[in-house]
């Protein structure tokens, strides 16, 4: 009985403290109804894996990692729904602009938001984790499930691509890209 009570207490603590940031994370990335669903799923996972949830400062990045998977799953299912609708002869609606578009205050920001939305999902995620969730590189590594050096590199690349997409000049002292060639296909 004590174990069950302790489990309830711990779950409630996590829910109370982290519902809001998790909810904001999901709503930044998904339409409202899908975001609600993703938030609920995150806390169902918390309940199931309560013993694995790290404590202290490590809790939130861990929760964002779970939320990231739920957001991915939701987006995939959304794409399947749209594809099905298109196959059935309906018009697949254009994707809605992200919530960022609603708070643009001046032209520079509009440019940045447009540039952000033109980037790959990976790049967008890294940039949002830094700019919106204000995570450190170490925390981003936890969310993405990669090494700190990989997170650092992904972040640097994402900012570089954001700059390029927004046509912002490179910061002073930045070296020119070395372009490498890789295979272009065939399996």
């Amino acid at each position: 009985v004590t174990a069950v009570v302790q489990r309830d207490v711990r779950f409630n603590q996590i829910f109370t403290e982290f519902f809001e940031p998790v909810s904001r994370y999901c709503h930044r990335r998904l339409p409202t109804s899908d975001a609600n669903d993703a938030v609920a799923e995150v806390f169902v996972v918390v309940w199931r894996k309560l013993d694995d949830v790290p404590s202290g400062e490590a809790t939130l990045p861990w929760l964002y990692g779970v939320a990231r998977h739920e957001v991915s799953r939701s987006r995939r299912s959304m794409r399947r729904r749209l594809a099905l609708r298109a196959r059935l002869g309906g018009q697949a609606p254009h994707p809605e602009p992200g919530p960022e578009s609603t708070v643009v205050r001046h032209e520079d920001q509009e440019l940045l938001v447009a540039a952000l939305q033109a980037l790959s999902p990976n790049d967008q995620e890294v940039l949002r984790l830094r700019a919106y969730e204000h995570l450190t590189i170490d925390e981003i590594a936890v969310v993405l499930g990669c090494s700190v050096s990989a997170a650092k590199q992904r972040s640097a690349r994402a900012i570089k691509r954001l700059r390029r997409a927004a046509q912002l000049p490179a910061p002073r002292g930045a070296s020119k890209d070395s372009r490498a060639t890789r295979k272009g296909g065939g399996g």
Partner: protein, 290 residues
């Protein structure tokens, strides 16, 4: 603007920054906790039902097996008793089945099905790749799987593909250059499977005249691919793909932006239908010049 200032500017476009209102229709704490409790209850109920069904399914055969073993023991005991009384050879030697054999056969034929083995998953992957069945391919991956090129995902210098892009990536792979894959051999260590793959396509046939070699490496957990990365043979890169890309650059420079992503430091394909079709047409033209 330095990078920090760029991020600061971007941060100002956060529609749901702390202390700002959430969108209309967003669940508050009470709505959310009710829904979470409902889902947990549903899951618990499902697990309970599954457990009961499993128990019920196993109870019948278990009782039958136990009864059979008891019967064998009784028959054996009676036979021994008769033998002891008559002082002759017990007929049990030839008529009594061996209980252990019966028991082990029962166990073998009713074992609980496990998740597909890593090799089975890998075979299914290449079967689907060879038939161009993208849906099956993507279905073999876990929801949080990672694909990397050139080395394990997450390592420096390696390009990762996010699960969101799997369908686009494999569709591009299948559509851009139909390729036949042949498993030359796989080493399986626990969940880790490393395969040597021979592959052929019109580009390789025309330029190299023989199979190319790739290494496909998988991590498979609970019957699903959790990590997958592939490395290409350096020989094909230098003799086939690099000359092909150079040829496109020289003869169809306008195609570069359609076929390959321009936002990356690598010549990385854009996983779009237009890119795949253009790539295929370019290969046909390139092959015709050989």
């Amino acid at each position: 603007m330095n990078d920090e200032q760029v991020l600061e500017q971007l941060g100002m476009t956060d529609a749901y920054a702390p202390a700002t209102a959430m969108p209309e229709g967003a669940w508050g704490r009470d709505d959310a906790i009710s829904e979470i409790e409902r889902r947990i209850e549903m899951q618990t109920q499902t697990e309970r039902t599954e457990h009961e069904e499993t128990t019920r399914r196993w109870m019948g055969p278990a009782i039958a097996a136990a009864a059979f073993v008891v019967l064998i023991i009784v028959v054996g005991a009676v036979a021994l008793l008769i033998d002891a009384r008559s002082g002759g050879v017990a007929p049990a030697d030839t008529t009594t089945p061996t209980p252990t054999t019966t028991a082990s056969t029962t166990a073998a034929t009713t074992s609980i099905p496990e998740a597909a083995s890593p090799q089975v998953v890998v075979d299914a992957f290449f079967d689907a790749l060879n038939t161009g069945d993208v849906e099956t391919i993507v279905g073999l991956f876990s929801v949080d799987a990672v694909i990397g090129f050139g080395g394990p995902p997450g390592e420096v210098g390696v390009d990762d593909i996010h699960p969101d892009e799997f369908t686009d990536y494999f569709t591009w792979t299948v559509d851009s250059l139909p390729t036949a894959y042949e498993i030359d051999g796989c080493d399986v260590i626990d969940t880790h499977v490393s395969c040597r793959i021979g592959y052929t396509n019109t580009l390789l046939d025309a330029v190299l005249g023989e199979q190319g070699q790739q290494a496909h490496i998988f991590d498979i957990e609970d019957g699903a691919i959790s990590q997958y990365y592939l490395t290409f043979g350096g020989r094909e890169s230098s003799l086939v793909f690099t000359p092909f890309i150079r040829w496109v650059e020289q003869t169809h420079p306008e195609a570069m932006a359609t076929v390959w992503r321009q936002d990356c430091c690598y010549t990385f394909p854009a996983f779009t239908e237009e890119s795949a079709q253009r790539y295929r047409a370019l290969v046909e033209e390139f092959v015709a010049t050989r």
